[in-house]
């Protein structure tokens, strides 16, 4: 099972999302202007949107590569339940994409004049929210696995499903920055992630089986 992670990492694309995230965060101050007050106010949103898009970049690799070289057929006939395969692949995607984003986000927060109180919450929010992004993305990738060049379709399908995570994630960070209570967005964000992790592996495995026919 752990080899899946290895396979995915060797498949390349690792670091691509991270580089995209970095560039986006550097471009925003150039576009918006260097005023610290403006940047500080939009920083949580910018970081979250950046994380979302960076995550999206590598999504279509989750199943498409395995579909092309036949591995997916073989995995479907293997003793490992397909639900577990989906969950592991989503986890591998998070480790290669989500986790690096969480780790560099404080540096980017610095670039965007994020208030000091918000750093802790930024990390908490991303840590809680990005697994949901990977899991929802894996579901989207399963939906579009048989489609040639399904990347665009995948983005259209997945981005709306990212809205709740984005809303509560960004809200959590900006509330943290202003020193308000963060209980509600924190609970909702954790709830979304837990729900996604509980339900979507089954949904994605079902969709994969249909797509393999």
């Amino acid at each position: 099972m752990r080899d899946l992670r290895l396979a995915l990492r060797a498949g390349g694309g690792f670091g691509l999302g991270l580089a995209f995230f970095l560039i986006l965060a550097v471009l925003v101050p150039l576009g918006v202007g260097p005023e610290p007050e403006v940047l500080a106010r939009i920083a949580p949103g910018v970081l979250w949107v950046g994380a979302l898009l960076a995550c999206l970049l590598s999504l279509d690799r989750i199943f498409a590569l395995d579909y092309e070289d036949g591995s997916l057929d073989l995995l479907a006939t293997a003793p490992l339940p397909l639900e577990a395969v989906v969950a592991i692949k989503a986890l591998a995607h998070w480790i290669t994409t989500g986790l690096p984003l969480v780790l560099v986000s404080p540096v980017l927060g610095l670039l965007l004049f994020l208030p000091g109180a918000a750093y802790g919450w930024l990390i908490v929010a991303l840590l809680l929210g990005t697994p949901a992004l990977s899991m929802i993305g894996a579901f989207g990738a399963a939906l579009t696995v048989g489609v040639k060049r399904g990347g665009l379709l995948l983005s259209l399908l997945v981005l709306p499903m990212y809205v709740p995570t984005l809303v509560f994630g960004a809200e959590l960070v900006s509330r943290g920055a202003q020193g308000l209570s963060v209980g509600t967005p924190l609970a909702l964000l954790a709830g979304i992630t837990a729900g996604a992790a509980a339900i979507l592996p089954f949904a994605a495995a079902l969709v994969l089986r249909i797509n393999l026919r």
């Binding site: 099972m1 396979a7 060797a10 498949g11 390349g12 070289d69 036949g70 073989l74 006939t77 026919r213």
Partner: protein, 207 residues
Amino acid sequence: MGLRVCDLAVARGGVPLLEGVNFALAPGQALVLRGPNGCGKTTLLRVVAGLQPALSGTVEGGEAVAYAAHADGIKATLSVAENLSFWGAVYGAGDVKAALERMNLRALSGRAAATLSAGQKRRLGLARLLVTGRPVWVLDEPTVSLDAASVALFADLVRGHLAAGGMALIATHIDLGLPEAQELDLRAHKARLPEPGDAGGFDEAFL
């Protein structure tokens, strides 16, 4: 323990291809499927492997299947040995070293799979069968891009598998050198094409 297929009918893309397919494999037996291109060999094998639902009929023993098709499921960036140990770990069985030895891949074991020739990739794909530890091999044209020596090696491999109580279901166009295997010509089971306006079910509207 065996593989039993009863009155199976299969379809591809909504078009019925085969019907009334019956066969049974007992341990130590092999069955070779024959038939022209497009007659439904691959579809039948996918149904037996459980990748696709049957139109009607039953497959018993399909959970013991190791499936190998045209695509070998090889990751180009991993080495030969890494590819094989991955599948060994997934199936939780099998001896990777012995499998490499058996398919003459030992000298290549450190090479990245991307640098293998088509025939070498195929040999790696067949070596995967050895690490699955599954009794029923379902093989879709296993000898594509193999040279004569490797075909003989493959026949040997299947014979060894049968001798150990395994079973093999093979679709192929060439003579494998397995005289003991039974043959099934799928032309006899060609499905009657539905009359125009015959079916018209709910699914039909979407095809």
